[in-house]
């Protein structure tokens, strides 16, 4: 997935979580606000009910009351119920609560009618009981004129009045009813004519009224206090809480979703981070760990840590030959191979450390030998061929190993060391710092020598077996040290190439030797490298010298290394063509050191072949060398190519070379390089 896509996904998830959080917050806030509000409303209804009931009891108890208070308490109940009923979402979100609340209101309508009835009855009871008390006082005034029967009746009336007041305060239905018969009997009593019976009659009327209204008074009062009304309210409230809890469940599901989303997005972010982290440490081509990972892993390694460095030999050539795409395939296959083959070290980690450099970081037990590990790896690597398109393409590899810090640098030094064997285990002698120091010294020495004209040509005579005399010299460069010691140029050659002193070196030797050649006789062969041939200025100078020293060209032979002649074939052909116009001849130096394609060499139409020292040196001991040299001589003879043996260092070899039919020879057995040519 692309980084932008990852970012987008993360942002989308993140903002979803954020939106969810916001919605959750507002939802819960609304939810709890609504719930609290509604619950508060329910409590208000309850309070209004309680106030109303309280007011009613107040009215029942006190004589002088303001009935407006009851009416406003009733209104209060209606108001508080209607507030709830009129909330729009009440009917929508809490249908059952709404229905129960409507039922409650209907019951309350009935209660209000009952309250009105009670008020009516209450007034009657209050007024009649008050009237009874007043009438009692009048009753006693009449006793003076009463008969004994009258007095008994009056006494009975007196007691009945008391009982009625008691029954009223006790809300005692039965007590009141028990007085019925007695009142009936007493009401039929005829008082003495002298007694004003009007007041007594009024009293009986009040008795009757109380008897009539008291049951209604008690019934209505009890009915008002009927708990069923509050019960419906409670039921509605309970239903509301239940419905509300149901909503809360949705809220909690929502919160689960929120947490889930959050965890997912965190997880994805973490995954991306891990992936990115891993990607940073992985080589995209081979999927091996990369240089950065190596640096980090190294810090965490403990114990005897070692690094094996593997380089594909001549990978550049492979790349040039097959193309980059195939080169990449080889790298991938090689990486796979490196990873899967058995490895002797402990806990190996595999890395791609450079273009064609692979590394294995591992640990060694105390008595393990690093060389053995490296050697075993090197030997195991080509055991099974690497097949690409069913074609074996197992690359040859160089292996170095090191357990001296800094591991990578030291292993690399071992790998780059010119005099390396395969595998090479780094040791102090390979210390790059010393090499560098030496290089610097050599470069400085060479530079000074060139400046101070202390680089001079020496001449090694070449014997001609046919004439038994010296007919040629090979021009060799020598450095005259400050202490007049003469040194071979060989140790300086690599330095000269690397420090750009080489063209100057060649020109110095050529210029100086041409001066000498001009004043001497015989042929002279001069070594040229491919660098010289490809150097425009050097070639120009050669031509200038060949022109200056008239007809010197016929005595000049240019020696070109066999390996260079093969590799830079085209460039060399044009050089040879040009030099031939001056009459110069061409020799192939170190012939037989590589696996030369003879036919190709012959195509160059060369004049002389100088057989490589490694073949000549062992002629007295190695039969195989004799066969090779014999073969070379045979084919040169048929092509009219002259042969010269190098490194003839004893009589036996001199004898063999002569026997083999080689045309000439040079070497310490005959002459060392001399300051001046012999002729």
């Amino acid at each position: 997935m692309k980084l932008t896509h990852k970012l987008l996904l993360t942002i989308i998830l993140g903002s979803s979580a954020l939106i969810a959080l916001f919605l959750f917050k507002s939802f819960t806030q609304t939810y709890f606000n609504e719930r609290n509000n509604l619950e508060l409303n329910f409590k208000e209804i309850e309070t209004a009910h309680r106030q109303l009931d309280n007011q009613i009891l107040n009215n029942a108890f006190f004589l002088y009351t303001n009935q407006d208070t009851v009416n406003s308490a009733i209104e209060q109940v209606y108001q508080s119920i209607d507030i709830l009923l009129n909330i729009p979402y009440m009917q929508k979100n809490h249908p059952k609560t709404y229905a129960l609340l409507l039922e409650h209101r209907r019951l309350f309508d009935k209660k209000v009618q009952t309250i009105y009835d009670f008020q009516t009855a209450n007034i009657v009871i209050k007024n009649t009981s008050a009237a009874l008390l007043v009438a009692e006082q009048h009753l006693f005034k009449e006793t003076k004129l009463a008969t004994s029967a009258d007095l008994a009746v009056m006494d009975a009336i007196h007691r009945i009045s008391g009982s009625i007041l008691l029954a009223k305060n006790a809300l005692d239905h039965e007590l009141l009813r028990s007085l019925d018969t007695q009142i009936q009997i007493l009401s039929r009593h005829r008082f003495a004519p002298s007694i004003d019976t009007e007041k007594i009659e009024r009293m009986f009327t009040h008795f009757k009224i109380i008897q009539e209204f008291f049951p209604r008074y008690v019934d209505t009062l009890e009915s008002i206090q009927e708990p069923v009304i509050i019960a419906t309210l409670k039921k509605s409230e309970k239903e509301f809480l239940r419905e509300s809890d149901h909503q809360l469940r949705i809220v909690s599901y929502f919160s689960y979703l929120l947490v889930f989303l959050f965890i997912i997005s965190i997880g994805i972010i973490a995954l991306f981070l891990v992936q990115t982290e891993r990607e940073i440490r992985t080589d995209s081509l081979t999927r091996l760990r990369n240089r950065k990972a190596y640096e980090e892993d190294l810090k965490h390694r403990r114990g005897r840590v070692a690094l094996i460095l593997i380089n594909i030999n001549k990978f550049k050539h492979y790349n040039d030959f097959y193309g980059v795409k195939e080169g990449d395939r080889l790298l991938v296959e090689t990486a796979n191979r490196i990873e899967i083959i058995p490895f002797l070290g402990q806990n190996p980690s595999y890395y791609r450390l450079g273009a064609d450099d692979f590394g294995i970081l591992f640990e060694l037990f105390q008595d393990d030998d690093l060389y053995t590990v490296a050697k075993s790896f090197l030997d195991t690597f080509p055991e099974t061929p690497i097949l690409i398109d069913n074609e074996p393409r197992t690359p040859s590899i160089s292996v170095s190993a090191s357990e001296l810090y800094p591991l990578l640098e030291t292993a690399d030094m071992a790998l780059k060391n010119k005099a390396r064997s395969n595998p090479t285990v780094y040791h102090e002698a390979l210390n790059l710092h010393e090499i560098i120091a030496e290089n610097v010294t050599k470069a400085k020495e060479l530079k000074e020598a060139l400046q101070e004209n202390r680089v001079v040509p020496y001449y090694q005579p070449i014997m001609n077996y046919a004439t038994e005399s010296v007919t040629k010299h090979e021009v060799l460069a020598r450095v005259i040290m400050k202490d007049a010691q003469v040194r071979s140029i060989f140790p300086y050659l690599r330095i000269a190439k690397e420090s750009n002193l080489y063209p100057e070196l060649t020109r110095t030797i050529v210029t100086k030797s041409f001066e000498v050649i001009a004043t001497h006789s015989g042929d002279f062969s001069i070594n040229l490298t491919i660098d010289d041939i490809e150097n425009h200025e050097t070639v120009e100078m050669l031509e200038e010298l060949l022109n200056r020293y008239h007809s010197i060209g016929k005595r000049i032979i240019f020696e070109i290394l066999e390996s260079e002649a093969i590799e830079k074939y085209e460039g060399i052909v044009s050089f040879i063509t040009k030099m031939r116009t001056y009459g110069c001849r061409i020799a192939i130096d170190d012939f037989g050191s590589g696996y030369s394609n003879f036919a190709r060499i012959l195509n160059l139409a060369i004049d002389i072949i100088k057989i490589d020292g490694s073949l000549i040196r062992n002629l007295d001991t190695d039969d195989k060398a004799i066969t090779i040299v014999q073969t070379i001589v045979n084919f040169t003879k048929s092509s009219s190519i002259e042969t010269v043996a190098e490194f003839v260092h004893n009589e036996a070899i001199a004898h063999i070379t002569e026997q083999l039919g080689i045309d000439g020879a040079q070497g310490f057995y005959y002459y060392e390089p001399l300051e001046c040519p012999l002729m």
Binding site: Y64, D68, Q119, T128, E198, R202, I209
Partner: protein, 303 residues
């Protein structure tokens, strides 16, 4: 609005809680625009079938918000069966009409308009008459935001106007507030009013108008079947001759008395109520004192 009124009332009640009667507030809040339109309607004969009767015909402020007849006269000179109850302070009544069939003024307002022997106009006719009148359609739509007038709109406006019809500053209210003193007979009358038990029914801000009671509780009064008592609503035997207790505010101005206008004077009314509903027989002097007290209940009459 009604809640505000109730709160005001309960505060007033609390302030004068030691007395069963409380003073009328100096003012109660109402919607000025609605009330102004209500006033116009209140005095407009357009709401009667023959264009002869207005609300004010039976609720004349100069006659204490009544028509000073025993029973009212409606369209085409038809006689009703009930004595016109006062419109003044009607906002303080717990229900409206003699038998309390309307819960509030809005419910009440259309009653007389529809009543065939009062103003005799069906709700449809009433609203179509107003819809045909540019002044009313304009004025109504400014308030309601609708283009046509509904019967309920009429009731709402009239009810709003009726809220303004309160009579504060009665001598007795000023006495309750400690701003004036009652004469000795007035004081005596108030004391008797309480001890006789009148106050058990006639209490609160309207000195009545807050409960139902039977006419002829102790000594029955003959029932006229043409009369609209509670029985006509509930069909309960016990509701025969039961009416809303009328207000005693401005009672001196609203003769004749009772639901049927059967008591011509206050003296007469007090005497009859004492007998029929309290079962007592006060002396003439006592009645006179009570009448003196009742006369202190006359407040500022609106114009």
């Amino acid at each position: 609005m009604r809640l505000l009124f109730l709160i005001t009332l309960s505060i007033v009640t609390l302030l004068y809680s030691n007395e069963p009667i409380v003073p009328i507030p100096q003012s109660i809040s109402y919607d000025l625009q609605k009330a102004a339109l209500g006033k116009k309607l209140f005095f407009d004969p357009i709401l009667s079938l023959d264009y002869t009767i207005t609300c004010a015909s039976c609720h004349d402020f100069t006659k204490g918000g009544t028509d000073a007849r025993s029973v009212s006269t409606g369209v085409y000179q038809q006689k009703g069966s009930m004595n016109s109850p006062t419109v003044l302070n009607s906002v303080f009544n717990f229900t409206q009409f003699w038998n309390g069939r309307a819960k509030n003024l809005t419910e009440q307002a259309l009653g007389p308009i529809h009543n065939p022997i009062e103003m005799g106009l069906s709700p449809k006719e009433a609203s179509s008459r107003l819809n045909a009148d540019p002044f009313y359609t304009n004025t109504f739509s400014k308030i309601t935001g609708r283009h046509t007038v509904s019967p309920n709109d009429i009731a709402v406006m009239i009810a709003e106007y009726e809220k303004t019809l309160i009579t504060p500053n009665a001598k007795f209210d000023l006495f309750l507030k400690g701003k004036t003193n009652l004469s000795s007979s007035e004081k005596e009358g108030y004391a008797l009013f309480k001890t006789f038990g009148c106050v058990t029914c006639h209490n609160g801000v309207n000195v009545g108008g807050n409960s139902f009671q039977k006419m002829g509780l102790i000594y029955p009064v003959a029932r006229n079947s043409k009369v609209d008592d509670r029985y006509t609503l509930t069909k309960r035997e016990s509701d025969k001759n039961v009416f809303k207790v009328p207000t005693l505010r401005n009672i001196a101005l609203t003769a004749p008395y009772f639901h049927d206008g059967s008591a011509l004077t206050l003296h007469d009314a007090v005497q009859k109520m004492s007998h029929h509903n309290l079962g007592i027989k006060p002396t003439s002097k006592e009645i006179a004192a009570i009448v003196a007290f009742l006369k202190t209940l006359t407040g500022d009459i609106p114009k």
